[in-house]
């Protein structure tokens, strides 16, 4: 059997074995003890030719309902947005996607410059001084921020609001266990962080306060008030933020955040069942040498020409080894590139315009739902998500919607037992007036 990825010919093999001085390929594996040699063939599916392969993969793909054919109102941390066509074209430049970490700057200037530009865009959006080259995703970035805060403050308790994404809180707890940190959840009140509860929990052992802006329930948290509490001791103020919303919202940097994290998925990255997406991590200058992951810096060559290199590597695992505070190595470089291309294409005007359309359309959806007699649960200002209450469990409601080729919103009772029959609805620029009207009509009809 021959394989198109394997150029070895019989003639090559013979010549190479002669050079090595062996008569049988097996001799190269003589150092593997007999008792652990694998006998026979691996019990996995047989190889497929390219035509059969495409057919089989198409079969698997077609078994899924996709949000290009169905109208989706699902968000909850992962959003379907307009992706300019050029994003995919540029990502498929194989000099980018078949390269590895730019350890050799002379032949990696393209990637390095692209990351430098990404870092700049993240700083601009978040209002922070410094951003790294990317993290795995928003929730792991949040967990790393918490770990960093414990390292920086030498304190052991992380206060995280219950209005932060439930999966981010779960990832945070797993990470915290590794570092023997305590995670305490701050109650929610009327859809936002309960400030009195937060203030009562804050003490000498608080390493950081973490909130989300807009929060998981779609509501916009009062960062001015939270910052005051977060900074009443030595703790850091960490804000997780949807970067698209920052086209319109005052960025966390303006409210005194020490760390801003999140996921740039809304910019050019398909939903793809939740990954790969792309976390971002931004900090104040004070925390520059504590940032996990890779940083690209500008410098010059011996002729004074501008160039870019990986820098401040003394922070990283391959230098610090067991003294490292993070083990991150490969991150999400290609998705950071995709997000940069999308942010370039949308540009200063488009990011603002897209953010504006999200808030306008979500508002319109709220109004239509109210007109249909559906209860909108919270009064807080929102961006592109909000919560409604229906007379039935959301799983049942979503089944009726599916019959109309609509994928309904997120069932909040999954994470908040008290939020029975509550649905988190996301409305982006992709939803038309007609689709919103239909959605509202179906929900209005739920009895």
């Amino acid at each position: 059997m021959k394989f198109r990825y394997l150029p070895m010919t019989e003639q090559d093999q013979k010549a190479m074995m002669d050079t090595i001085g062996i008569n049988d390929l097996e001799e190269l594996f003589d150092d593997i003890p007999k008792e652990i040699r694998f006998k026979g063939e691996l019990n996995i599916e047989e190889a497929l030719d390219e035509i059969q392969l495409v057919k089989e993969m198409r079969r698997l793909s077609d078994k899924n309902l996709n949000i290009k054919e169905y109208t989706s109102f699902l968000g909850a941390g992962v959003y379907e947005h307009y992706i300019p066509s050029i994003v995919n074209h540029m990502l498929l430049r194989s000099e980018f996607y078949t390269a590895y970490t730019p350890y050799q700057p002379e032949i990696s200037q393209g990637e390095l410059q692209a990351i430098f530009e990404f870092q700049t865009m993240i700083c601009e959006l978040t209002g922070m001084d410094i951003a790294n080259s990317s993290m795995y995703d928003g929730p792991t970035a949040l967990a790393e921020a918490a770990m960093m805060s414990a390292g920086q403050t030498r304190k052991k308790t992380i206060l995280v609001s219950k209005t932060v994404h439930p999966e981010a809180r779960e990832v945070l707890k797993t990470n915290a266990k590794g570092q023997n940190l305590t995670v305490v959840e701050v109650d929610e009140k009327d859809g936002i962080t309960d400030l009195d509860h937060l203030a009562s929990l804050y003490n000498d052992d608080t390493a950081s306060v973490i909130v989300q802006y807009p929060n998981f329930l779609g509501n916009i948290e009062d960062l001015t008030a939270i910052e005051k509490i977060a900074h009443q001791g030595k703790g850091l103020f960490i804000v997780s933020s949807n970067p698209l919303s920052l086209g319109l919202l005052q960025p966390p940097g303006k409210f005194g955040a020490d760390v801003v994290v999140g996921d740039v998925q809304p910019f050019g990255i398909p939903t793809q069942l939740g990954g790969p997406h792309c976390g971002y991590f931004a900090v104040t200058t004070k925390l520059m040498r504590k940032v996990p992951g890779r940083l690209v810096g500008q410098t010059t060559d011996e002729h004074g020409q501008r160039g870019f290199v990986l820098t401040l590597q003394a922070r990283e695992q391959h230098i610090r080894r067991d003294k490292a505070t993070s083990n991150i190595c490969s991150n999400q470089a290609l998705n950071a590139l995709g997000a940069s291309i999308a942010m370039s294409a949308l540009g200063k005007h488009g990011v603002k315009e897209m953010a504006a359309q999200n808030i306008q359309k979500a508002h319109y959806a709220k109004e239509q739902l109210r007109k249909q007699g559906v209860e909108v649960v919270y009064d807080s200002p929102t961006f592109n998500e909000f919560v409604v209450r229906l007379p039935k469990p959301i799983t049942e409601v979503n089944e009726s919607l599916l019959a109309e080729k609509i994928i309904g919103g997120y069932d909040l009772s999954r994470d908040y037992p008290e939020k029975e029959n509550m649905m988190l609805v996301a409305v982006t620029e992709l939803r038309t007036k007609e689709e919103i009207d239909q959605f509202a009509a179906v929900l209005g009809g739920v009895k």
Binding site: Y5, Q179, S344
Partner: protein, 487 residues
């Protein structure tokens, strides 16, 4: 590559230009002040680029021309397995039923995705000889940490709270000790012997009642098979510890030997190495973790299970370490890896490792006369050379690497592993032809001769790249980490 400055996207920006096409708002517009109280409204616009579509396309095309990938040329970066990234994998990952599905859709609407994940879990379990696999970890280092957290949960469930040490060989990748620290362990180093293998006597000394695990790459980072692995496993297991397999080098062993059969309890794989998913300039990767039965109860939530003809997520794992990643791992990467496994099948995967090892040994023997070889036995998929001989002539390994750039190659991994002086670590992979290997070897031989006859040409390399060696000291001392508009 032409030597000139490449403007930043911000520098080609001009007020009023756009590169997008958004629809007109089709709902009644409400004054933003009615939607957002003023304290929440952005007061200063973010300075993002303003450029036309063609300008952006030219910009990123120019950047790509200043980058070297596997498609551009040979990339023998040791330990990174820079093999060909099949184009069909990219096509498949972009099928709408894979690219445009939401993680919170009902399970009944993503049965194809679940079937793929289930089959990939099982394939990887078979390939590694483990009982179950989680696809959640996002990359190798993330897999290491996940695996160590599983081991920690296992020991704690047995009341073994005193097992705080993770043993790591001196040749290990830096992520190993870093992952141990992040998982709350202290790492202990075990020495290598003169053959480049773990020193068993030293292992016996450092192993004890406080041992949580031994982390091992096999073949190790020198490209050598730890032939006493069975004995090592016994030493660690007898002491009550677990064996962790760093799968960074699994390209050498597919269908030839399996970590599970060697005695390992936990394995991570780097799908972006062995299973052809693209390295992407530094991710996204995927780092699935496989475990033996006694560690299954601690796997992260959720696992994909099959019931009758239906697939679903199982969240009911009471002793689970919890979540390590939102949603279900880097699904889009896992799609590519599964496509590759279906392309190669059991026969193809075995050939992959045979040829990867043959290619490495061939290059090794051709280069051996010209460079010092600290370890001379047959290697596996990669091998190390030392630039000691050239260093005496004033040519450092860094210079050799930079000189290789002039020949259009990405250099090997250098100065790693740390226990080899002036180290060069070369991994050809199975997707390279003999002609490519020969051309690279010829270039290396020429550089070895230049070091003797004309060292300046090597010391001053590279000569043909878009930029010369960069001032990394200033970059670290006075960091410029973002563009700032000159006012």
């Amino acid at each position: 590559m032409s030597q000139q400055d490449q403007a930043l996207i911000f520098e080609i920006s001009k007020e009023g230009r756009i590169g997008h096409s958004l629809p007109e708002l089709d709902v009644p517009e409400v004054d933003v002040n009615d939607l957002l109280p003023s304290q929440f409204q952005r007061t200063k616009e973010p300075e993002l680029p303003e450029a036309s579509e063609l300008q952006i396309v030219r910009h990123y095309t120019a950047l790509s021309n200043r980058n070297h990938g596997v498609d551009s040329g040979f990339y023998p970066l040791g330990s990174c397995t820079m093999k060909y990234n099949p184009k069909i994998n990219e096509d498949v990952a972009r099928f709408p039923g894979f690219a445009h599905i939401h993680p919170y859709q009902a399970e009944s609407t993503i049965q194809g995705a679940l079937e793929l994940m289930y089959k990939l879990q099982n394939s990887l379990a078979e390939i590694t000889g483990m009982d179950e696999v989680t696809l959640q970890p996002a990359a190798g280092a993330h897999g290491e940490w996940t695996g160590l957290m599983l081991i920690r949960a296992f020991h704690e469930a047995n009341g073994d709270h005193h097992r705080t040490k993770v043993i790591v060989p001196d040749s290990a990748h830096g992520t190993n000790p870093a992952s141990a620290t992040v998982a709350g362990f202290d790492s202990v180093t075990v020495r290598s012997n003169e053959k480049g293998l773990v020193d068993l006597d030293h292992l016996r000394e450092v192993v004890g009642e406080d041992t949580a695990a031994l982390m091992l790459t096999n073949p190790n980072t020198l490209g050598l098979f730890e032939e006493q692995i069975v004995e090592m496993a016994k030493i660690v297991h007898d002491a009550g510890g677990k064996l962790y397999y760093d799968g960074a080098n699994s390209n050498a062993i597919l269908g030839i030997t399996r970590p599970g059969d060697m005695g390992f309890d936990v394995v991570h794989l780097n799908l972006h190495k062995t299973f052809t998913t693209p390295h992407g300039g530094g991710g996204p990767g995927s780092g699935p973790v496989g475990v033996k039965k006694d560690l299954v109860p601690y796997l992260p939530k959720p696992q994909v299970v099959k019931e009758g003809e239906t697939y679903r997520f199982n969240y009911n794992i009471p002793q689970s370490i919890g979540r390590v990643k939102p949603y279900y791992g880097n699904f889009g990467i896992n799609v590519r890896a599964y496509t590759y496994i279906r392309t190669m099948g059991p026969v193809g995967l075995r050939k992959v490792s045979e040829y990867a090892v043959l290619n490495a040994n061939y290059m090794f023997r051709r280069l051996e006369p010209y460079f010092d070889a600290p370890y001379t036995q047959h290697c596996k998929h990669e091998f190390v050379l030392s630039g000691r001989r050239q260093k005496k002539l004033g040519v450092r390994t860094l210079d050799i690497a930079k000189r290789l750039l002039d020949f259009g190659y990405h250099p090997p991994t250098i100065y790693f592993p740390l226990n080899v002086e002036e180290c060069l670590m070369i991994e050809p992979t199975e997707t390279e032809s003999k002609e490519t290997l020969d051309e690279f070897v010829d270039a290396m031989i020429q550089i070895a001769k230049e070091a003797e006859e004309n060292p300046e040409i090597v010391q001053e390399a590279p000569h043909h790249t878009v930029i010369d060696r960069l001032d990394e000291t200033t970059a670290a001392r006075k960091p410029i980490l973002r563009y700032t508009k000159e006012s």
